[in-house]
């Protein structure tokens, strides 16, 4: 199976940073896979995502998406990837529908495409009845769902989600995870970061654990649990490899 993402020996140190955010990270993601990028705070997850979507330039190494270099083909690649940022990246004073109409226009979609896709996605994520409500008035879970919809309007082949379920209630989380599984069944590749190991165990075909900007271990969640001594859950595997010390 071809790689959707190839990250090889990626290094990045931010200006004024004491330690490298990425220190020779290498990660490979197959097409059509749901890959969980896991790591404690400061492991380098967000930097990796920012490099993949062209928001941050690496110091060295290279990252490709569908065979194209992320630093050279940024604009082209942004058409094929959908990034769901950790923050709610939407216009708070606009309604969900107004947000989607605007974002769709920026992607170059015509009004019929925007309308059809927005209605479909809003219905699938349970926001169809709230489409005319301002984002500012949404609950945390609704905002998260709207944030995902806005990233999928252009029907990307690869979706990168940075903690898409942070701070949401159980129902919203279940809806988001079901939706992502369904989306993956359409052949889309999903890269997903989370601090919730149970969630990763439930949705990911493969997880990659990184720490201090370096690759630690990867594999299917069940395989990792099986192959790591005294581990019954993915969380045990995570703690086994990254330790119990608190990261700041």
């Amino acid at each position: 199976m071809a790689y959707a993402i190839e990250i090889a020996n990626l290094r990045k140190t931010y200006k004024g940073g004491w330690t490298p955010a990425l220190d020779g990270l290498s990660v490979y993601v197959h097409e059509g896979q749901v890959m969980g990028l896991l790591g404690p705070n400061g492991a380098g997850k967000s930097t990796t995502i920012n490099i993949l979507c062209g928001l941050v330039a690496p110091d060295s190494g290279h990252a490709t998406i569908f065979g194209k270099d992320c630093t050279k083909h940024t604009l082209e690649l942004r058409k094929t990837i959908g990034v769901v940022p950790q923050q709610i990246a939407m216009f708070g004073n606009l309604t969900a529908w107004e947000n989607l109409r605007y974002i769709g226009s920026l992607y170059g979609l015509n009004s019929k495409q925007v309308k059809d896709r927005a209605h479909d996605l809003l219905a699938r994520l349970g926001l169809d009845k709230h489409a005319d409500k301002r984002i500012n008035r949404y609950s945390g879970g609704m905002k998260r769902r709207a944030n995902i919809i806005a990233s999928l309007l252009h029907q990307p082949s690869l979706i990168i989600l940075d903690e898409p379920t942070a701070g949401v209630d159980v129902q919203s989380r279940a809806m988001i995870l079901d939706f992502l599984k369904e989306y993956n069944q359409q052949g889309k590749t999903i890269v997903y970061t989370s601090h919730l190991m149970e969630e990763a165990e439930q949705i990911c075909d493969e997880v990659v654990i990184i720490d201090e900007g370096k690759f630690v271990v990867s594999g299917a969640p069940l395989e990792l649990i099986k192959n790591t001594a005294d581990c019954k859950r993915l969380e045990d595997v995570f703690l086994h490899y990254t330790g119990h010390s608190v990261r700041d």
């Binding site: 940024t74 604009l75 708070g92």
Partner: protein, 436 residues
């Protein structure tokens, strides 16, 4: 009490951490004080203390012309310009230069002025001879049409005109009287004789004794320009432009809010969207600003007359105001966009935006006419986009100019806007560390 102290401490920490914001809080008012003190210095001085360029077209070529010219040259109030490129200034040239706004005031000494004063001297001598029963010198009645013509740049304010007229009148009357007294002395009249002649006290005699006077004439062809020198004509465009520049506050505020709520990140993630969004913002706010200017003109046209003030006159080519308003709006929007891009917090952007507009407007002649500013401020006025805009509007509504007269102004406003916009795009691109 502890809670209040804790709050003060917290606010102090927050302010200390926003170094740029804290500096702006002190720096911007400091700059404002310096600029406003210099700008407002002029109105506190008598116009008599200031020195102006004065164009002189001397058609007389006699003694009176020379007397007036030399008298003015020696004065502290005027810097006399009687030749350009080594050639004497002609009346046509003088009018053209004033119309173009290159000079603010000019006088034309009419042909035959010296002869008129000589004639006046003869008239005085004849009056005296009549009383003494002596013979008469050849003389005719004074011509009412013979006077020194004074022209002003139509943009000059009435108070300025009055002060300048007064000063010029003083010099010209003095020169005429000097020449007349000299002539009478040559005719063998003593001061005592002149006093006897003057004892009649008639207005007619006083008029004769003054020689020729000075009169203000309108510059425009139709001679109706005087009607438009009023507060509405000066204040509506000036304050409309000032108001347009305050668009900086909503634009910058909007951009900072979008950065804070991260919706700008969404736009960055969409290919090419950032440039389109920037252009969309510029276009939208330019329209808003243009509409703002139109509303202000509407107030001048229809509301102010209802309040007993004169109606705003839009000149002989009112449509030329449209492109000017659009260019001013574009420059105001580009400035607001730059402030929105450069500053990181509202604490920084809001005081900078508001105070910089006040400073640029003061420098640009919105508060006090540029001519009255100190030399260095007059030079600085040339870099204020508000000055370019105001001068362009004045060309149309005060000097009765057309679009051709304001093309350089429009070009400067467009170039200024383009430069600011390009800087904004560059700063924004650098900030997001994009690898495009």
């Amino acid at each position: 009490m502890n809670k209040i102290l804790a709050t003060i401490q917290k606010e102090w920490i927050l302010l200390r951490r926003d170094v740029a914001g804290a500096m702006l809080l002190f720096l911007m008012p400091a700059v404002l004080i310096v600029v406003m003190a210099m700008v407002q210095d002029a109105p506190f001085k008598d116009y008599q203390e200031l020195r102006f360029d004065l164009l002189i077209a001397n058609n007389d070529h006699g003694r009176l012309g020379d007397e007036i010219k030399n008298g003015l040259k020696q004065s502290q109030n005027f810097h006399v310009v009687d030749s350009i490129d080594g050639k004497p200034v002609t009346e046509g040239q003088l009018q053209a230069l004033l119309k173009a706004g290159k000079y603010r005031v000019g006088i034309v000494i009419p042909k035959g002025a010296t002869a008129e004063v000589v004639n006046a001297a003869n008239l005085v001598a004849n009056r005296l001879s009549e009383k003494l029963g002596m013979g008469k010198l050849p003389a005719r009645e004074l011509r009412d049409s013979m006077y020194v013509r004074m022209y002003f740049d139509p943009v000059s304010k009435p108070t300025f005109r009055m002060s300048i007229s007064f000063a010029l009148d003083k010099y010209i009357t003095y020169s005429c009287s000097n020449l007349l007294v000299g002539r009478l002395s040559k005719l063998g009249m003593s001061q005592a004789d002149m006093a006897i002649a003057d004892s009649t006290g008639s207005d007619d005699f006083k008029r004769i004794f003054q020689g020729i006077g000075i009169k203000e004439e309108a510059l425009n062809d139709k001679g109706s320009m005087k009607l438009f020198i009023n507060s509405v004509q000066h204040n509506v465009p000036a304050w409309a432009i000032f108001g347009m520049y305050f668009i900086v506050i909503p634009i910058a505020g909007n951009m900072l809010r979008e950065r804070e709520e991260r919706s700008s990140l969404r736009v960055q993630l969409i290919p090419y969207a950032h440039n389109f969004e920037a252009l969309g913002k510029i276009f939208f706010y330019t329209l808003i600003c243009t509409a703002q200017f139109a509303v202000m003109c509407g107030i001048g046209l229809w509301l102010l007359p209802q309040m007993g003030l004169p109606a705003l006159y839009l000149g002989q080519h009112p449509m030329a105001i449209v492109p000017i308003a659009i260019c001013i709006a574009l420059s105001a929007t580009a400035f607001g966009y730059l402030v929105g891009v450069v500053f990181k917090t509202a604490t920084q952007a809001t005081p900078f935006g508001a105070i910089s507009v006040v400073i640029m407007s003061a420098m640009g002649g919105i508060w006090v006419p540029v001519d009255l500013l100190p030399g260095i401020m007059q030079k600085l006025a040339n870099v204020s986009p508000l000055h370019w805009g105001l001068d362009a509007i004045n060309h149309i509504i005060l000097r009765n100019g057309n679009i051709g007269n304001v093309l350089p102004h429009l070009a400067m406003l467009i170039v200024f806007s383009t430069i600011l916009f390009l800087i904004s795009l560059y700063v924004n691109r650098s900030r997001i560390h994009s690898v495009q």
